[in-house]
C-alpha cells in the first residue's frame, strides 16, 4: 500500500545497530522500493546505506525514529523491526 509511516522503535537487538545488524538491515531493504530514513540523536540517514547506519552507532536499548515512504512502506517497516528486535525480548 502506497503511503508514509513514521514510527519510534526501541532497539532491543543486543548488538545495537552495529556492523552485523547494520549489514542485515541493508540486505533486507535491498529490494524495497520505498525510501527508508532513520532519525537518531538529531541525525537523519538513508537506512539503505550501511555506512550511514553504522555511523549512527545506535546502542542497544536506545530508541530510533523510522520514516518509510513509498509503495511498499509497510513491508519496509516490518523488515526494519525484524532487525531491530532480533535476539531481543520479543523472542
Amino acid at each position: 500500500m502506497e503511503g508514509k509511516v513514521v514510527k519510534r522503535i526501541a532497539v532491543t537487538n543486543p548488538e545495537g545497530l552495529h556492523a552485523r545488524p547494520a549489514g542485515k538491515l541493508v540486505k533486507l531493504l535491498s529490494d524495497i522500493e520505498s525510501s527508508v530514513t532513520i532519525v537518531y540523536k538529531g541525525k537523519r540517514i538513508n537506512a539503505k546505506s550501511v555506512l550511514s547506519v553504522m555511523s549512527l552507532g545506535v546502542e542497544p536499548g536506545e530508541e530510533i525514529e523510522v520514516i518509510v515512504d513509498g509503495p511498499d512502506c509497510e513491508e519496509a517497516l516490518k523488515r526494519v523491526e525484524e532487525v531491530v528486535h532480533a535476539g531481543g525480548e520479543n523472542e
Binding site: T12, P14, A19, L51, S52, M54, P60
Partner: protein, 521 residues
C-alpha cells in the same frame, strides 16, 4: 648456515596459542601506502570495487559470522554514501588517489565519531578496503604453512590468511580486543602481537611458539620442532573430546572479558562463566553504558549458558584507568587505592545502574554477582542491602547469589566474619599473590617476588577453602594459577569447587582434571 636468533615475546601479547614452522613472509604495511600516483578513472575504480567484492564473497565462507561480515564489506563497497562522495570529487572521469583517501578518512571519521568502541574497531576494515581499491599489486605471495608478519593486522587479512592456511600470524601493533584478534582466536590461528620488527629475517625459516611466547629464526633442530608440532596437533584433536566432560563437584569455567568471547567460551566447553569482567562495557567512552545496554549484554551471557552459572564481576577499576565519567582521585598507588568496590561506593549512580541491569537480567539464567577488591565485611552488607532494595522494587523474588573476590589478605585473616554474609567466593590469585608479597605484578624489578605457585599462596587458598567448607560455601579460583595444568592436582586436592580459566584453556584443564581423577581411582 644462517645464524639462529631467538626473539622472546611477553605472554600478555599472545592472543591465540599454537605452534608454527615455516617461511616468514613480511607483508607490507598497507595503511601507510603513499597517496601519490596517477589519478584513477572512476570506471576503473568501480571495476576494482567489483573485483574486491567478488574476492570477499569467495573467501568469506565457512561460518555464519564470516559470511555476515563479508556481506557488510561488500555492501560498503557498493554503498550509496561512498560513491556519492567519490563522484563529487571526480574530474574528467578521473579521481586522484589523494581524493580517494580523503573520502576514506571522512568515512572513518564518521565511524569514529559514532563513539562506539565496537564500531571503532571496524574502521580498520574500511581502511583496508580502500587500500585494496587503489592498490594494483594483489595476491600476496603467501602459501600454506607460511608465518606472516604484518605491522598491523586487519580482519580482512585474517580471513585471507585463514583461507590460504598460514601457520601463524605475528604483528607489531595489536590488541586482544581488536576484531582481527577475535577472528584469529575463533579461527584458531596462532597469533601474537607486540613483535619487534622482523624485517631483517624476511623469507627465513622460523619457528613460532605461541604458547611460551617465542620466535626462533633459523632454528637448528628441525626434527624436534616437527615432532613438537605434531604432538601438539594430535593433543589438540584429542582435547576436543575432553571439552564435553563434566566432573562431580568441580566446574571448569571460563574467564570472559568482552561480548564476542561468550560464544568462544561456549564452543570450548566451559561449564559456565566463572568471571565475566564488565570493564569492557565502561572503557573507551565518554559516558557510562545505559541500564538497558548492560541488561541486554548480561541477559545474552546468561541465556547462552543457562542453566550453568554466570558469575558477573561488578566494575573493577581504579583511578589508573582514566574513565572520564568516574569520580576517582589521582593516587600514587592506584592498586592500593580507590578501586573495585571502593570505587563503586564513591560512584553510586554507576553502581546502582549496573546492579539494576544485573537484577533485571537475573531471571534469564543462573547469575552470581561478584564484588571485587573486598577488604571489610561491611562492604558486603552494603551491596546486599542495595541488591535487596532493587530486587523488591523490581519485584524479583529470588535473589541472585552474591559472592566476593578473595584477593586482599585481610579477608583471609577474618574469614569467619564473611562466611555468614556471602554465597560463594572466588580467589583472584593474581592480585592475591601481588598483595601477599607486596610485589607489583607489572614491575619487572620485583618479578622474583611474584610467584603464584608459592606455598604461601597455596596455604592462603587452603585457609579459605577449609573455612568456607564448614559453612557450605563454594570456593573457586579465577586467576592465572587456575589455568596451569601442573597445578590442577594441588588445587583440586585442596578442595576448590571451580577453576575459571581463559576459554582456550578449558579443554586442557578438563583433560588434566580427568587424568587426575582417573589416576586416583
Amino acid at each position: 648456515m644462517s645464524k639462529k636468533v631467538v626473539i622472546e615475546i611477553p605472554q600478555r601479547y599472545i592472543v591465540s596459542e599454537g605452534y608454527a614452522y615455516g617461511t616468514l613472509r613480511c607483508v607490507g604495511n598497507e595503511s601507510s601506502r603513499s597517496s601519490e600516483g596517477e589519478p584513477i578513472p572512476i570506471e576503473k575504480l568501480r571495476k576494482r570495487a567489483k573485483e574486491v567484492s567478488e574476492e570477499i564473497s569467495r573467501t568469506y565462507q565457512g561460518s555464519e559470522v564470516l559470511k555476515e561480515l563479508g556481506e557488510v564489506y561488500v555492501m560498503i563497497l557498493g554503498d550509496p554514501l561512498l560513491w556519492d562522495k567519490l563522484e563529487k570529487r571526480e574530474k574528467d572521469g578521473k579521481i586522484s588517489i589523494r581524493d580517494v583517501f580523503e573520502v576514506r578518512d571522512y568515512i572513518v571519521s564518521l565511524l569514529v565519531e559514532s563513539g562506539n568502541p565496537l564500531i571503532r574497531e571496524r574502521t580498520d576494515d574500511i581502511m583496508n578496503i580502500f587500500n585494496k581499491l587503489v592498490s594494483a599489486e594483489e595476491n600476496l605471495q603467501i602459501r600454506k604453512g607460511d608465518v606472516v608478519y604484518v605491522e598491523k593486522l586487519y580482519p580482512l587479512d585474517v580471513v585471507h590468511f585463514y583461507r590460504v592456511g598460514v601457520g601463524a600470524i605475528l604483528s607489531r601493533e595489536g590488541s586482544h580486543t581488536s576484531h582481527a584478534a577475535i577472528l584469529a582466536k575463533s579461527l584458531e590461528i596462532p597469533y601474537m602481537y607486540g613483535v619487534p620488527s622482523l624485517e631483517a629475517y624476511c623469507d627465513s625459516l622460523v619457528f613460532v611458539d605461541a604458547l611460551a611466547g617465542r620466535i626462533v629464526v633459523n632454528p637448528s633442530n628441525e626434527r624436534g620442532i616437527k615432532e613438537t608440532i605434531l604432538r601438539y596437533e594430535e593433543e589438540k584433536k584429542l582435547l576436543e573430546d575432553y571439552s564435553k566432560l563434566r566432573f562431580e563437584g568441580l566446574n571448569v569455567m571460563a574467564n570472559v572479558g568482552f561480548l564476542q568471547e561468550i560464544e568462544i567460551a561456549k564452543k570450548k566447553g566451559a561449564d559456565g562463566i566463572g568471571l565475566f569482567r564488565t570493564e569492557f562495557l565502561f572503557l573507551n567512552r565518554d559516558e557510562p553504558p545505559s541500564e538497558n545496554e548492560q541488561f541486554l549484554v548480561y541477559k545474552h551471557a546468561l541465556e547462552t549458558f543457562s542453566p550453568d552459572r554466570v558469575v558477573v564481576r561488578l566494575l573493577d577499576v581504579g583511578g589508573d584507568k582514566g574513565i572520564p565519567y568516574l569520580e576517582l582521585p589521582r593516587e600514587e598507588n592506584p592498586f592500593l587505592g580507590v578501586r573495585g568496590i571502593r570505587a563503586l561506593i564513591q560512584n553510586e549512580d554507576i553502581f546502582l545502574t549496573q546492579l539494576r541491569a544485573l537484577l533485571r537480567a537475573s531471571p534469564h539464567g543462573n547469575l552470581g554477582i561478584l564484588i571485587p577488591m573486598v577488604s571489610k565485611p561491611s562492604e558486603v552488607d552494603y551491596v546486599r542491602k542495595i541488591v535487596e532494595k532493587i530486587a523488591s522494587e523490581l519485584e524479583i523474588g529470588e535473589l541472585p547469589d552474591i559472592g566476593i573476590m578473595v584477593e586482599v589478605p585481610s579477608v583471609i585473616l577474618s574469614l569467619d566474619r564473611f562466611l555468614g554474609r556471602v554465597d560463594f567466593m572466588s580467589i583472584g590469585t593474581n592480585d592475591l599473590t601481588q598483595y601477599l608479597f607486596a610485589a607489583d605484578r607489572m614491575s619487572q624489578y620485583v618479578s622474583d617476588y611474584y610467584n603464584d605457585e608459592d606455598e604461601v599462596v597455596l596455604k592462603a587458598i587452603r585457609l579459605v577453602v577449609e573455612g568456607a567448607k564448614s559453612a557450605g560455601i563454594p570456593v573457586g579460583i579465577c586467576g592465572e594459577l587456575a589455568g596451569k595444568v601442573h597445578m590442577v592436582k594441588r588445587l583440586v586436592e585442596i578442595g576448590v569447587t571451580s577453576l575459571s580459566v581463559s576459554s582456550s584453556r578449558v579443554p586442557l584443564i578438563k583433560k588434566a582434571v580427568y587424568e587426575m581423577k582417573k589416576g586416583s581411582e
